[in-house]
């Protein structure tokens, strides 16, 4: 019997109901912030339908993709790419990429239920191989939006689900439903990040806003991110936590990372 060991390391799934809510931006910067705080971190691209981390980190080719690990054709150690040269800090930073080739995307969308069950088993065993075996402090899963296999597998595996949402009405409704009908059923700790908040709203009534959010979603707020034009202007070429250490967005992500490190979400 493989016993679930008591471990300090944590798995965090970054998820959202709709696309374009800032999951990848948040995942990348959160992982970088934790690494800068001295943690050993691995960021995984679990968005097999629209892989994006390879472009964020400018990685042309990988020896093995996360797809191969989930297919059972390679070890997880071959998937991890050491990116300590990209993120400077006291910690360590690795990334596991999803294969961006169209053929690979097609292959991943055509998997059957048995394959998905085994993929869940392989994700769950990362707790043992990476958190216990390689002493990682955090594994961060950047997921696909909505209710689909790869994302729910990630959520079931995770200790904490960070939900990125916006003020868009359809996003609010969907997120609320997901909180009740998905995360709650799996008894997951959940923290909310409200993204693309109008600057004036975030400045003038921050307390009010937080109370309102808490009343709508009934889960703790991890952070409130105003709409920054600089993020749009960077066109995905910058990792703010690394490249713009004094930017307000970096400070917000730093605060979110600190909340996660101090186990504030319960």
């Amino acid at each position: 019997m493989s016993r679930v060991k008591v471990t300090m390391g944590k798995i965090i799934a970054v998820h959202s109901y709709k696309g374009g809510t800032g999951k990848t931006l948040l995942s990348v910067n959160l992982a970088a912030a934790l690494a800068k705080h001295g943690k050993k971190v691995c960021l995984f691209d679990l968005d097999f339908r629209a892989p994006s981390l390879f472009a964020v980190f400018n990685v042309e080719n990988a020896e093995c993709w996360l797809n191969d690990y989930l297919n059972g054709t390679c070890e997880i150690s071959k998937v991890l790419i050491d990116l300590n040269g990209r993120i400077y800090g006291d910690g360590e930073f690795f990334v596991g990429f999803a294969n961006p080739a169209t053929e690979a995307i097609r292959d991943m969308t055509a998997k059957d239920r048995k394959w998905e069950m085994r993929a869940l088993g392989r994700l769950l065993s990362l707790r043992n191989t990476l958190l216990n075996g390689k002493e990682f402090d955090y594994l961060i899963f950047d997921t696909s939006p909505g209710l689909q296999y790869s994302s729910i597998n990630a959520i079931v595996t995770a200790d904490l689900v960070v939900v990125a949402t916006t003020s868009d009405r359809s996003d609010v409704d969907g997120t609320r439903r997901m909180l009740n009908e998905l995360y709650n059923l799996f008894e997951k700790k959940t923290g909310l990040v409200l993204n693309k908040v109008l600057d004036s709203a975030s400045k003038s009534k921050k307390g009010d806003m937080q109370d309102k959010i808490k009343a709508i979603y009934q889960v703790p707020m991890l952070g409130l991110v105003p709409c920054f034009c600089e993020i749009l202007r960077a066109e995905g070429n910058l990792i703010f936590v690394q490249d713009k250490p004094d930017h307000p967005f970096t400070k917000i992500v730093d605060e979110i990372a600190k909340k996660i490190e101090s186990n504030e979400i319960n």
Binding site: R3, K114, M117, G121, N128, Y149, V156, L182, L185, F186
Partner: protein, 123 residues
């Protein structure tokens, strides 16, 4: 009890009796469970994958057991009970129910019964 009464291996006989009693107990637990939740939703399936969508559609009490088995790979009712903080007999009933539903498989090794979802997931 004197040794002559039970023959040469009294301990062995007692072990056998205990083993049989435990199996009987398990069968009774399954019957009680079937009665409690109604037979309608418990159509026996063979080799149904225990995937996340299945987990989502399960009643809460079974989901907890099934999720713990997913995390452990392979475990006895006792080991599952330690993690769910529910009684061993309760977990045993739920696990056997999941076996009947086709989501889990059961394997005996000596006196212990091990449950698992997929042979490949066992460690």
């Amino acid at each position: 009890m004197k040794e002559e009464v039970l023959g040469k291996k009294p301990l062995h006989v007692l072990e056998k009796i205990r083993e049989n009693l435990e199996r009987l107990n398990e069968k009774i637990e399954v019957m009680i469970e079937l009665q409690k939740h109604g037979r309608k939703d418990l159509q026996p399936l063979s080799d149904a994958p225990l995937d996340v969508m299945t987990l989502l559609s399960m009643p809460d009490h079974l989901r907890k057991t099934a999720m713990t088995i997913c995390r452990c790979g392979r475990a006895t009712a006792e080991e599952i009970a330690q993690q769910t903080n529910r009684a061993r007999a309760v977990e045993s009933a739920y696990l056997n129910q999941l076996v009947i539903m086709g989501y889990l498989k059961k394997e005996r090794k000596g006196r212990k019964a091990y449950f698992y979802a997929d042979r490949e997931c066992q460690e």
